[in-house]
């Protein structure tokens, strides 16, 4: 199964940068799940949780405020603040 690059970036630093299988979060018009080769999309983030699936495991990253930019091979989340799970 192909993967895509996920970057979570805040003004202070790059919080997360890895190859993942799937990203699930809430965009302006509802929840979306993003798989590799998704159509390009830009949307503000509505929720404050980003679920990341990678090799069968799931992580939840907390974010606040920001945007989601999707390209077929790459997802970028621009957040004002973000916190990785412990």
């Amino acid at each position: 199964m192909s993967k895509m690059q996920l970057d979570i970036v805040t003004p202070e630093k790059v919080i997360y940068s890895d190859e993942v299988d799937m990203v699930i979060t809430r965009a302006a018009e509802g929840d979306i799940g993003i798989l590799p080769k998704h159509a390009p999309l830009v949307s503000p983030l509505k929720g404050n949780r980003v679920r990341v699936k990678k090799d069968g495991k799931e992580e939840v990253i907390s974010v606040s405020g920001g945007f989601l930019e999707v390209r077929p091979d790459k997802v970028t989340i621009l957040a004002e603040t973000a916190e990785l799970p412990e």
């Binding site: 805040t10 003004p11 202070e12 830009v42 503000p44 945007f67 930019e69 621009l78 004002e80």
Partner: protein, 289 residues
């Protein structure tokens, strides 16, 4: 002679103590400078990414207009001035504030035509003493500020522009060029000029879908972008501050070293003179017998 020898000795000790302090401050500033530069570097991906998206929006959507992209007649100007909280940084604050005053005088007839946001105690005290219209201030920032520390003042500045309380926003800060050179600059932040958004990158050529719509995404992202630019300027200013302090303290240390050398020379001369005189007295005394 003995008196002046003691005086010289005391001065040497005093200058030595000062030198220790300036040397320590120099080392601290040098270490902080490196961290500040790293931080400025780390904030770049965020700003770059946002810029990509905005360039894409601005180019792909000729129909979309946003007040932040359009110049309007200027009735009132906002300034955001970034200074430091502490002194002992050479001309860091002085040069910047002098430039600001010159520009204000050149550009405006009266103080009704502008309003100033200020970051840093030095700038605030300076501007308040001159009774300039300061409408917002942040002081006591840590050495390595987070976005949250200036989030409020940045939001406020951008909001005042949106509400047309002023029609352009300048940001005044010390640009970090290299560890030896920092230049006070004034940049127009709002409205965002089209030159800023000219360059194209790979991301700018992608055709995106926008959720919910181009206009709304643009309206949400532009204020963020302006705030991000303010934050980068702050980080740049901090790096400049440390660089300026490092240089100022290096000069102070060098001067102290030179002063100590001269004083030691003076001390030795005085000591030699005292000995010579004593011998002359003994010889004179012996001859008299």
């Amino acid at each position: 002679m003995a008196q002046s020898m003691r005086d010289i000795k005391r001065r040497i000790r005093s200058v030595e103590n000062t030198k220790k302090i300036t040397k320590a401050m120099e080392l601290v500033a040098a270490a902080n400078l490196r961290r500040a530069q790293d931080k400025a570097q780390a904030s770049r991906p965020y700003a770059d990414k946002m810029r990509d998206v905005i360039v894409n929006l601005a180019q792909g959507t000729t129909g979309v207009k946003h007040p932040m992209l359009v110049s309007r007649p200027v009735k009132k100007t906002g300034y955001l001035v970034i200074t430091s909280d502490r002194g002992l940084a050479g001309g860091y604050n002085g040069n910047l504030l002098r430039m600001l005053l010159q520009n204000l005088k050149k550009r405006h007839q009266s103080s009704d035509e502008y309003a100033i946001f200020v970051i840093g105690r030095k700038g605030r005290d300076f501007l308040k003493k001159r009774k300039l219209p300061v409408i917002g201030e942040v002081t006591g920032l840590p050495d390595f500020p987070e976005f949250a520390h200036i989030g409020e003042i940045a939001k406020q500045a951008v909001q005042f522009y949106e509400e047309e309380k002023f029609d352009e926003l300048y940001i005044v800060y010390n640009q970090f060029i290299n560890p030896v050179v920092q230049r006070p600059v004034e940049k127009r932040l709002l409205p965002l000029t089209s030159e800023d958004l000219q360059e194209t990158s790979a991301a700018a050529r992608t055709v995106y879908e926008y959720e919910p719509s181009q206009e709304e995404v643009l309206a949400a992202i532009l204020p963020r972008y302006a705030e991000t630019l303010i934050y980068s300027a702050l980080l740049d200013g901090k790096a400049s501050e440390f660089a300026a302090r490092m240089n100022a303290m290096k000069n102070a240390t060098d001067n102290a070293t030179e002063m100590i050398e001269n004083l030691v020379l003076q001390f030795n001369r005085a000591r030699q003179a005292a000995i010579t005189q004593e011998i002359a007295e003994i010889v004179g005394g012996a001859a008299a017998l």
